[in-house]
Symmetry: C2
Amino acid sequence: MNTYTPRLARLIEALRKLPGVGPKSAQRMAFHLLDRDRQGARNLATALGEALDAIGRCPGCRMFCEDQACRYCTPARGASGLLCVVESPADLMAIEAASAYRGRYFVLMGRLSPLDGVGPEELGLSVLQEVLDGGQIQEMIVATNPTVEGEATAYYLAEIGKAAGVRVSRIAHGIPMGGELEYVDGGTLAHALSGRTPV
Amino acid sequence: MNTYTPRLARLIEALRKLPGVGPKSAQRMAFHLLDRDRQGARNLATALGEALDAIGRCPGCRMFCEDQACRYCTPARGASGLLCVVESPADLMAIEAASAYRGRYFVLMGRLSPLDGVGPEELGLSVLQEVLDGGQIQEMIVATNPTVEGEATAYYLAEIGKAAGVRVSRIAHGIPMGGELEYVDGGTLAHALSGRTPV
Protein backbone atom coordinates (compact mmCIF):
# COMPACT_ATOMS: atom_id res chain seq x y z
CA MET A 1 0.00 0.00 0.00
CA ASN A 2 1.50 3.29 -1.02
CA THR A 3 -1.72 5.11 -0.30
CA TYR A 4 -0.39 6.81 2.84
CA THR A 5 0.84 10.35 2.65
CA PRO A 6 4.63 10.53 3.22
CA ARG A 7 4.69 11.65 6.86
CA LEU A 8 1.90 9.27 7.80
CA ALA A 9 3.83 6.44 6.15
CA ARG A 10 6.95 7.40 8.09
CA LEU A 11 5.02 7.47 11.38
CA ILE A 12 3.48 4.04 10.74
CA GLU A 13 6.89 2.66 9.75
CA ALA A 14 8.43 4.04 12.97
CA LEU A 15 5.64 2.55 15.12
CA ARG A 16 6.18 -0.86 13.50
CA LYS A 17 9.63 -0.95 15.05
CA LEU A 18 8.01 -1.38 18.47
CA PRO A 19 8.02 -5.02 19.64
CA GLY A 20 4.75 -6.84 18.95
CA VAL A 21 3.41 -4.19 16.58
CA GLY A 22 2.53 -5.20 13.01
CA PRO A 23 1.25 -3.12 10.10
CA LYS A 24 -2.40 -3.15 11.24
CA SER A 25 -1.60 -2.19 14.84
CA ALA A 26 0.79 0.50 13.67
CA GLN A 27 -1.89 2.02 11.45
CA ARG A 28 -4.38 1.86 14.31
CA MET A 29 -1.91 3.55 16.67
CA ALA A 30 -1.09 6.29 14.17
CA PHE A 31 -4.76 7.02 13.44
CA HIS A 32 -5.60 6.97 17.14
CA LEU A 33 -2.82 9.42 17.98
CA LEU A 34 -3.65 11.77 15.10
CA ASP A 35 -7.40 11.62 15.55
CA ARG A 36 -7.93 11.41 19.29
CA ASP A 37 -4.78 11.89 21.29
CA ARG A 38 -2.50 14.51 19.80
CA GLN A 39 -1.41 15.57 23.28
CA GLY A 40 -0.50 11.96 24.04
CA ALA A 41 1.54 11.80 20.84
CA ARG A 42 3.33 15.01 21.77
CA ASN A 43 4.06 13.60 25.25
CA LEU A 44 5.38 10.38 23.73
CA ALA A 45 7.76 12.25 21.44
CA THR A 46 9.04 14.32 24.37
CA ALA A 47 9.35 11.31 26.68
CA LEU A 48 11.29 9.38 24.03
CA GLY A 49 13.70 12.26 23.48
CA GLU A 50 14.29 12.82 27.19
CA ALA A 51 14.71 9.13 27.92
CA LEU A 52 17.23 8.68 25.10
CA ASP A 53 19.23 11.66 26.27
CA ALA A 54 19.22 10.85 29.96
CA ILE A 55 19.07 7.08 30.36
CA GLY A 56 22.32 5.16 30.09
CA ARG A 57 23.79 2.04 31.65
CA CYS A 58 25.16 1.77 35.16
CA PRO A 59 28.84 0.75 34.84
CA GLY A 60 28.53 -1.49 37.90
CA CYS A 61 25.37 -3.51 37.21
CA ARG A 62 24.52 -2.70 33.55
CA MET A 63 20.95 -1.73 34.53
CA PHE A 64 19.37 1.37 32.96
CA CYS A 65 20.36 4.36 35.03
CA GLU A 66 19.70 8.06 34.61
CA ASP A 67 21.42 9.60 37.62
CA GLN A 68 25.03 9.64 38.70
CA ALA A 69 24.22 7.12 41.42
CA CYS A 70 22.54 3.88 40.33
CA ARG A 71 19.70 2.99 42.69
CA TYR A 72 20.65 -0.69 42.60
CA CYS A 73 24.33 -0.20 43.45
CA THR A 74 23.95 1.63 46.79
CA PRO A 75 26.36 0.88 49.64
CA ALA A 76 23.42 -0.55 51.66
CA ARG A 77 22.74 -3.12 48.95
CA GLY A 78 26.43 -3.88 48.67
CA ALA A 79 26.60 -4.51 52.40
CA SER A 80 24.17 -7.40 52.03
CA GLY A 81 26.95 -9.36 50.32
CA LEU A 82 24.42 -10.68 47.78
CA LEU A 83 24.56 -10.37 44.00
CA CYS A 84 21.65 -11.49 41.82
CA VAL A 85 22.45 -12.11 38.14
CA VAL A 86 19.49 -11.71 35.75
CA GLU A 87 19.12 -11.75 31.98
CA SER A 88 17.17 -8.54 31.43
CA PRO A 89 16.02 -5.30 33.08
CA ALA A 90 12.46 -6.72 33.09
CA ASP A 91 13.68 -9.68 35.18
CA LEU A 92 15.28 -7.28 37.65
CA MET A 93 12.03 -5.30 37.89
CA ALA A 94 10.04 -8.49 38.46
CA ILE A 95 12.32 -9.64 41.30
CA GLU A 96 12.38 -6.19 42.84
CA ALA A 97 8.59 -5.93 42.74
CA ALA A 98 7.81 -9.45 43.96
CA SER A 99 10.40 -10.15 46.61
CA ALA A 100 12.10 -8.67 49.63
CA TYR A 101 15.51 -9.12 47.97
CA ARG A 102 17.52 -5.95 48.45
CA GLY A 103 21.02 -6.96 47.42
CA ARG A 104 22.94 -5.92 44.35
CA TYR A 105 22.17 -6.97 40.78
CA PHE A 106 24.01 -7.72 37.59
CA VAL A 107 22.05 -7.52 34.33
CA LEU A 108 23.51 -9.63 31.51
CA MET A 109 21.32 -7.98 28.83
CA GLY A 110 21.00 -11.35 27.11
CA ARG A 111 22.19 -14.91 27.56
CA LEU A 112 25.03 -16.98 26.14
CA SER A 113 24.04 -17.92 22.61
CA PRO A 114 27.01 -18.70 20.36
CA LEU A 115 24.77 -19.16 17.31
CA ASP A 116 23.56 -15.56 17.64
CA GLY A 117 27.09 -14.32 18.29
CA VAL A 118 26.43 -13.61 21.98
CA GLY A 119 29.52 -14.58 23.97
CA PRO A 120 30.95 -13.61 27.39
CA GLU A 121 32.04 -10.15 26.13
CA GLU A 122 28.52 -9.21 24.99
CA LEU A 123 27.18 -10.11 28.44
CA GLY A 124 29.78 -7.93 30.17
CA LEU A 125 31.21 -10.85 32.14
CA SER A 126 34.50 -8.98 32.58
CA VAL A 127 32.54 -6.36 34.55
CA LEU A 128 30.98 -9.18 36.58
CA GLN A 129 34.46 -10.58 37.22
CA GLU A 130 35.55 -7.20 38.59
CA VAL A 131 32.52 -7.04 40.88
CA LEU A 132 33.25 -10.54 42.20
CA ASP A 133 36.93 -9.73 42.64
CA GLY A 134 35.95 -6.62 44.63
CA GLY A 135 35.62 -8.87 47.67
CA GLN A 136 32.25 -7.51 48.85
CA ILE A 137 30.11 -10.28 47.35
CA GLN A 138 29.69 -13.46 49.41
CA GLU A 139 26.91 -15.12 47.45
CA MET A 140 25.97 -14.92 43.76
CA ILE A 141 22.34 -15.88 43.01
CA VAL A 142 21.99 -17.00 39.39
CA ALA A 143 18.47 -16.07 38.24
CA THR A 144 18.70 -16.72 34.49
CA ASN A 145 15.62 -18.27 32.85
CA PRO A 146 15.22 -22.07 32.91
CA THR A 147 15.64 -22.37 29.14
CA VAL A 148 18.42 -24.25 27.39
CA GLU A 149 20.43 -21.08 26.85
CA GLY A 150 19.62 -19.76 30.31
CA GLU A 151 20.84 -23.02 31.91
CA ALA A 152 24.05 -22.94 29.87
CA THR A 153 24.60 -19.36 30.99
CA ALA A 154 23.93 -20.37 34.61
CA TYR A 155 26.55 -23.14 34.36
CA TYR A 156 29.10 -20.72 32.92
CA LEU A 157 28.35 -18.15 35.63
CA ALA A 158 28.71 -20.78 38.34
CA GLU A 159 32.21 -21.59 37.07
CA ILE A 160 33.16 -17.90 37.22
CA GLY A 161 31.73 -17.56 40.72
CA LYS A 162 33.51 -20.62 42.05
CA ALA A 163 36.80 -19.49 40.52
CA ALA A 164 36.38 -16.16 42.34
CA GLY A 165 35.74 -17.98 45.63
CA VAL A 166 32.12 -16.86 45.92
CA ARG A 167 29.19 -19.03 47.04
CA VAL A 168 26.92 -19.66 44.03
CA SER A 169 23.21 -20.48 44.20
CA ARG A 170 20.45 -20.92 41.63
CA ILE A 171 16.84 -19.79 42.10
CA ALA A 172 14.49 -22.74 42.70
CA HIS A 173 12.57 -24.33 39.83
CA GLY A 174 9.47 -26.43 40.38
CA ILE A 175 5.70 -26.32 40.53
CA PRO A 176 4.47 -22.70 40.44
CA MET A 177 2.39 -21.53 43.41
CA GLY A 178 -1.29 -22.31 42.84
CA GLY A 179 -0.37 -24.74 40.06
CA GLU A 180 -1.84 -28.22 39.98
CA LEU A 181 0.40 -31.25 39.53
CA GLU A 182 -2.07 -32.74 37.07
CA TYR A 183 -1.67 -29.88 34.63
CA VAL A 184 2.02 -29.09 35.04
CA ASP A 185 4.26 -30.15 32.14
CA GLY A 186 6.47 -33.21 32.53
CA GLY A 187 9.77 -31.32 32.48
CA THR A 188 8.75 -29.08 35.35
CA LEU A 189 7.40 -32.04 37.36
CA ALA A 190 10.60 -34.05 36.88
CA HIS A 191 12.62 -30.99 37.91
CA ALA A 192 10.44 -30.47 40.99
CA LEU A 193 10.90 -34.12 42.07
CA SER A 194 14.65 -34.22 41.61
CA GLY A 195 14.98 -30.84 43.33
CA ARG A 196 12.88 -31.77 46.40
CA THR A 197 13.83 -30.12 49.69
CA PRO A 198 13.64 -31.54 53.22
CA VAL A 199 10.80 -30.22 55.38
CA MET B 1 5.53 0.06 41.29
CA ASN B 2 7.52 3.20 41.78
CA THR B 3 10.79 1.46 41.10
CA TYR B 4 11.28 3.11 37.71
CA THR B 5 13.54 6.10 37.45
CA PRO B 6 11.54 9.27 36.63
CA ARG B 7 12.23 9.52 32.89
CA LEU B 8 11.76 5.80 32.40
CA ALA B 9 8.44 6.04 34.24
CA ARG B 10 7.37 8.93 32.00
CA LEU B 11 8.30 6.99 28.85
CA ILE B 12 6.35 3.91 29.97
CA GLU B 13 3.38 6.09 30.90
CA ALA B 14 3.46 7.76 27.46
CA LEU B 15 3.65 4.39 25.67
CA ARG B 16 0.63 3.15 27.63
CA LYS B 17 -1.48 5.79 25.88
CA LEU B 18 -1.14 3.81 22.64
CA PRO B 19 -4.22 1.69 21.89
CA GLY B 20 -3.87 -1.92 22.98
CA VAL B 21 -0.79 -1.31 25.12
CA GLY B 22 -0.93 -2.19 28.83
CA PRO B 23 1.70 -1.78 31.54
CA LYS B 24 3.62 -4.95 30.65
CA SER B 25 3.76 -4.18 26.91
CA ALA B 26 4.74 -0.59 27.62
CA GLN B 27 7.63 -1.74 29.82
CA ARG B 28 8.70 -4.21 27.16
CA MET B 29 8.59 -1.51 24.47
CA ALA B 30 10.56 0.95 26.60
CA PHE B 31 13.25 -1.60 27.46
CA HIS B 32 13.46 -2.74 23.84
CA LEU B 33 13.90 0.80 22.57
CA LEU B 34 16.47 1.73 25.21
CA ASP B 35 18.40 -1.51 25.01
CA ARG B 36 18.31 -2.48 21.37
CA ASP B 37 16.83 0.16 19.12
CA ARG B 38 17.82 3.66 20.17
CA GLN B 39 17.87 4.76 16.53
CA GLY B 40 14.32 3.44 16.13
CA ALA B 41 13.26 5.41 19.21
CA ARG B 42 14.86 8.54 17.82
CA ASN B 43 13.08 7.98 14.49
CA LEU B 44 9.76 7.47 16.26
CA ALA B 45 10.13 10.73 18.18
CA THR B 46 10.96 12.59 14.97
CA ALA B 47 8.15 10.95 12.99
CA LEU B 48 5.65 11.80 15.73
CA GLY B 49 6.72 15.42 15.81
CA GLU B 50 6.63 15.81 12.03
CA ALA B 51 3.29 14.06 11.68
CA LEU B 52 1.71 16.23 14.39
CA ASP B 53 3.00 19.40 12.79
CA ALA B 54 2.10 18.52 9.21
CA ILE B 55 -0.97 16.30 9.25
CA GLY B 56 -4.35 17.97 9.56
CA ARG B 57 -7.86 17.30 8.30
CA CYS B 58 -9.07 17.91 4.77
CA PRO B 59 -11.93 20.44 5.02
CA GLY B 60 -13.82 18.62 2.24
CA CYS B 61 -13.70 14.97 3.34
CA ARG B 62 -12.32 15.11 6.93
CA MET B 63 -9.59 12.57 6.04
CA PHE B 64 -6.04 13.13 7.32
CA CYS B 65 -4.24 15.34 4.87
CA GLU B 66 -0.77 16.86 4.90
CA ASP B 67 -0.65 18.83 1.66
CA GLN B 68 -2.72 21.70 0.41
CA ALA B 69 -4.52 19.36 -1.97
CA CYS B 70 -6.20 16.30 -0.45
CA ARG B 71 -5.52 13.22 -2.54
CA TYR B 72 -9.10 11.99 -2.07
CA CYS B 73 -10.77 15.23 -3.18
CA THR B 74 -9.29 15.55 -6.66
CA PRO B 75 -11.45 16.83 -9.55
CA ALA B 76 -11.13 13.39 -11.22
CA ARG B 77 -12.69 11.72 -8.19
CA GLY B 78 -15.36 14.40 -8.00
CA ALA B 79 -16.23 13.79 -11.67
CA SER B 80 -17.24 10.20 -10.82
CA GLY B 81 -20.31 11.62 -9.07
CA LEU B 82 -19.83 9.10 -6.24
CA LEU B 83 -19.40 9.81 -2.53
CA CYS B 84 -18.57 7.02 -0.09
CA VAL B 85 -19.29 7.75 3.59
CA VAL B 86 -17.16 5.78 6.07
CA GLU B 87 -16.72 5.86 9.83
CA SER B 88 -12.95 6.06 10.11
CA PRO B 89 -9.73 6.68 8.17
CA ALA B 90 -8.94 2.97 8.52
CA ASP B 91 -12.20 2.12 6.72
CA LEU B 92 -11.26 4.50 3.89
CA MET B 93 -7.84 2.85 3.61
CA ALA B 94 -9.42 -0.61 3.53
CA ILE B 95 -11.83 0.33 0.72
CA GLU B 96 -9.10 2.10 -1.22
CA ALA B 97 -6.77 -0.90 -0.94
CA ALA B 98 -9.35 -3.60 -1.70
CA SER B 99 -11.56 -2.15 -4.39
CA ALA B 100 -11.46 -0.24 -7.62
CA TYR B 101 -13.61 2.54 -6.13
CA ARG B 102 -12.12 5.88 -7.09
CA GLY B 103 -14.82 8.35 -6.14
CA ARG B 104 -14.83 10.85 -3.31
CA TYR B 105 -15.04 10.02 0.39
CA PHE B 106 -16.47 11.50 3.52
CA VAL B 107 -15.00 10.36 6.84
CA LEU B 108 -17.37 10.72 9.81
CA MET B 109 -14.61 10.09 12.40
CA GLY B 110 -17.11 8.19 14.51
CA ARG B 111 -20.77 7.18 14.43
CA LEU B 112 -23.95 8.56 15.92
CA SER B 113 -23.94 7.61 19.59
CA PRO B 114 -26.10 9.90 21.73
CA LEU B 115 -25.05 8.13 24.95
CA ASP B 116 -21.41 9.05 24.26
CA GLY B 117 -22.39 12.57 23.29
CA VAL B 118 -21.69 12.02 19.58
CA GLY B 119 -24.32 13.84 17.55
CA PRO B 120 -24.53 15.16 13.97
CA GLU B 121 -22.20 18.10 14.73
CA GLU B 122 -19.37 15.83 15.96
CA LEU B 123 -19.60 13.85 12.71
CA GLY B 124 -19.37 17.01 10.61
CA LEU B 125 -22.70 16.39 8.92
CA SER B 126 -23.01 20.08 8.08
CA VAL B 127 -19.90 19.67 5.91
CA LEU B 128 -21.48 16.61 4.31
CA GLN B 129 -24.62 18.65 3.66
CA GLU B 130 -22.51 21.26 1.84
CA VAL B 131 -20.85 18.59 -0.29
CA LEU B 132 -24.23 17.12 -1.23
CA ASP B 133 -25.65 20.57 -1.97
CA GLY B 134 -22.66 21.23 -4.25
CA GLY B 135 -24.53 19.38 -6.98
CA GLN B 136 -21.62 17.21 -8.13
CA ILE B 137 -22.62 14.09 -6.20
CA GLN B 138 -25.17 11.78 -7.83
CA GLU B 139 -24.87 8.77 -5.52
CA MET B 140 -23.95 8.51 -1.86
CA ILE B 141 -22.69 5.07 -0.80
CA VAL B 142 -23.18 4.56 2.94
CA ALA B 143 -20.38 2.28 4.17
CA THR B 144 -20.79 2.52 7.94
CA ASN B 145 -20.26 -0.68 9.91
CA PRO B 146 -23.19 -3.10 10.33
CA THR B 147 -23.42 -2.50 14.09
CA VAL B 148 -26.42 -1.02 15.88
CA GLU B 149 -24.87 2.43 15.94
CA GLY B 150 -23.55 2.10 12.40
CA GLU B 151 -27.02 1.16 11.12
CA ALA B 152 -28.61 4.08 12.96
CA THR B 153 -26.02 6.37 11.40
CA ALA B 154 -26.74 4.88 7.97
CA TYR B 155 -30.46 5.55 8.40
CA TYR B 156 -29.78 9.16 9.40
CA LEU B 157 -27.40 9.63 6.45
CA ALA B 158 -29.98 8.19 4.05
CA GLU B 159 -32.49 10.81 5.22
CA ILE B 160 -29.99 13.59 4.58
CA GLY B 161 -29.13 12.20 1.15
CA LYS B 162 -32.76 11.84 0.08
CA ALA B 163 -33.53 15.38 1.28
CA ALA B 164 -30.66 16.63 -0.89
CA GLY B 165 -32.05 14.74 -3.89
CA VAL B 166 -29.12 12.32 -4.11
CA ARG B 167 -29.39 8.57 -4.80
CA VAL B 168 -28.44 6.70 -1.62
CA SER B 169 -27.06 3.14 -1.49
CA ARG B 170 -25.73 0.90 1.28
CA ILE B 171 -22.83 -1.54 0.86
CA ALA B 172 -24.00 -5.15 0.75
CA HIS B 173 -24.06 -7.31 3.87
CA GLY B 174 -24.14 -11.09 3.73
CA ILE B 175 -21.97 -14.19 3.77
CA PRO B 176 -18.28 -13.22 3.51
CA MET B 177 -16.36 -14.63 0.53
CA GLY B 178 -14.95 -18.05 1.39
CA GLY B 179 -17.27 -18.30 4.40
CA GLU B 180 -19.33 -21.42 4.97
CA LEU B 181 -23.07 -21.15 5.65
CA GLU B 182 -22.76 -23.74 8.40
CA TYR B 183 -20.42 -21.57 10.46
CA VAL B 184 -21.83 -18.13 9.74
CA ASP B 185 -23.76 -16.51 12.63
CA GLY B 186 -27.54 -16.38 12.48
CA GLY B 187 -27.83 -12.63 12.11
CA THR B 188 -25.59 -12.56 9.04
CA LEU B 189 -27.42 -15.52 7.51
CA ALA B 190 -30.83 -13.91 8.03
CA HIS B 191 -29.51 -10.69 6.52
CA ALA B 192 -28.09 -12.56 3.53
CA LEU B 193 -31.42 -14.28 2.88
CA SER B 194 -33.57 -11.19 3.13
CA GLY B 195 -31.08 -9.25 1.01
CA ARG B 196 -30.92 -11.87 -1.80
CA THR B 197 -30.30 -10.54 -5.32
CA PRO B 198 -31.64 -11.91 -8.62
CA VAL B 199 -29.12 -13.81 -10.79
